[in-house]
Amino acid sequence: MNSPVQSGRTDAPEARVSLRSLLVRPEFTAIAGTIAVFAFFAIFTGDAGFLSMAMTRNYLEVAATIGIIAAPITLLLVAGEFDLSVGATVAAGEIVMSYLIVYAGWPVAPAFLATVIVAIGIGALNGYLVVKTKLPSFIITLATLFIIRGAVQGILRMLNGNSVIDGVRSAAGEDPLVWLFSGMVGPFSVSLIWWIVITGLAAWVLESTVFGNRIFATGGNQAAAVRTGIQVDRLKIMLYIAVAASAVLVAAINIFTINQGNANSAVGREFEVVTAAVIGGALLTGGYGSPIGTFFGALLFGMVDQGFFFTPLPDVWFLTFLGFMLLIAVVINNYTRNAALKPRGSSQ
């Protein structure tokens, strides 16, 4: 398909490009996996209730609270960094917002804005510590996970001797903004809309904007990115802030849905969102990932989480099942990516 070229410049012919470019898409595995898992549960547990509307609503709700955070986490992973503190940040958001609504009597709008400001602070702190210390973000955010989670529990203990703040819904009264977080859109919870919108936004930013191009470069080859004048530190701090902001959105959804702010909320969420992102094709080493893939990773997580209930296995086996799913997805992702990126030069 190529015209002959002079002398020693050689490459293998560029056959199979279109198939390759399909397989190299990071979201390929997650979409295929979601279809497979849906088919599995539909065939084997469809009669038991997996296909019911209530069930669909349930797994979409679980998937949304993971996916809303997993979308910005994907951008952060592509930029080459990690955030383990998101679960603790959800709890911090729940307690701050519940406190302002229940104890301080604030309306929903200022309470939410104040909580977002707290999130910006947490995100900026995470980001600042990561770029200034140049230590692995895994360790930095593990530390902030403990600090934030402990502080939330400790402060609430001092405040009311408890680990929850109850009665958020009644304190908020008829505030119309409550609908934004726990309303229903048709048969589904409004969190589904947030999830779709945030995924779309993250995908657009990453794939189609200058900022996204620089996210890819920062995670793909930081030294080269710095040399072209990209301000990688600022970029990373902005992404940490976006991640923390998404965590307080989930916090707001939780407190109005469950009617309670909980200092022990979202324990382990940090691993759930990374699981969704990695099933969705993101590389932990940076430079590669897809918010669309992550969307399906979160959807798959939600389906397995809820659908497992209908299988004959006791639900304690859920994690084992999930672990195998993750393992299979990562191996397939790794294989397809390597195959697609193999240099086609024959001269080395």
Binding site: T10, V24, N213, F216, N221
Partner: protein, 267 residues
């Protein structure tokens, strides 16, 4: 070649790090359409000199002249703005990103108004492909494919192409052939010849005396931070140059390499 004012000239440049002299009284100059080969063993001071020319370090004494006028680069950006582009080993590319995204990294083409401003990937793909093919790398036919699928020589080509497109008048190529096989190295040397024919000045840093001899117009050999020799094309043989570089230590190994490397098509 050209006899006009050099694009860049170093006059008696010295650099000390914590009292230790890395460079002593080094002078060199490069004019438009010339290839200056900078040779020397590891630790001879090549990297320090390059960092001074590209604005990473300031010289301790001596001066840098840009188009005949004293230049003070405070940071690499100053040198870049003056048209001095450094291409690092492996081209400094991002393997998982497409050719065109790499090409325009840091200077992306956009369309639309904020907040809907977005990358103009079509235009970026088209220009990147035109540019890279115009430098003779015609095997690359799809600039939306990842740079990771390119060979080492093609990545160098991409980086060189990118630098010239964005207005480089002087290219500093840091060991562009050292990680490459013989054929790939030939590709890169041809590319250097092509760039030179467009009137761009080139400083080519290399360990490989034969690569240098095949393309260079002028040669500067550094040893222990000083200029050991400075001469023009045809004044010394490859064997002499190798002797200057390393006191003949590497001679045998190099002769072996010279055996297999025949510069056929270098202009």
């Amino acid at each position: 070649m050209s006899t006009n004012i050099p694009i860049i000239e170093a006059r008696n440049v010295s650099k000390e790090f914590a009292g230790i002299a890395a460079l002593q009284e080094v002078s060199l100059k490069v004019s438009a359409g010339e290839v200056l080969c900078l040779l020397g063993d590891n630790g001879a001071g090549k990297s320090t000199l390059i960092k001074i020319l590209s604005g990473v370090h300031a010289p301790s004494s001596g001066e840098i002249l840009l188009d005949g006028k004293p230049a003070a680069f405070r940071e690499p950006r100053d040198a870049r703005n003056a048209g001095i582009a450094t291409v690092h080993q492996y081209g400094g590319t991002v393997p998982l990103m497409s050719i065109s995204r790499n090409f325009f990294l840091g200077a992306e083409i956009v369309k639309g108004r904020w907040p809907l401003r977005r990358l103009d990937l079509q235009t970026m793909n088209r220009i990147a492909l035109e540019q890279i093919q115009s430098l003779g790398v015609r095997r690359v036919t799809d600039s939306s494919r990842p740079v990771g699928t390119l060979s080492g020589g093609q990545r160098q080509a991409l980086a060189i192409c990118r630098a010239t497109y964005f207005g480089a008048r002087l290219l500093i190529l840091d060991e562009p052939t050292s990680a490459l096989g013989v054929r790939e190295a030939t590709t890169v040397l041809k590319l250097v010849a092509e760039v030179r024919s467009r009137g761009i000045g080139v400083i080519l840093i290399t360990h490989n005396a034969h690569h240098a001899m095949s393309i260079g117009d002028h040669f500067v050999v550094l040893g222990h931070g000083k200029v050991v020799a400075s001469f023009s094309r045809g004044e010394k043989s490859a064997a002499e140059v190798v002797g200057l570089m390393a006191g003949g230590v590497e001679l045998q190994a190099l002769e072996l390499e010279l055996e297999q490397f025949k510069p056929k098509a270098v202009s």
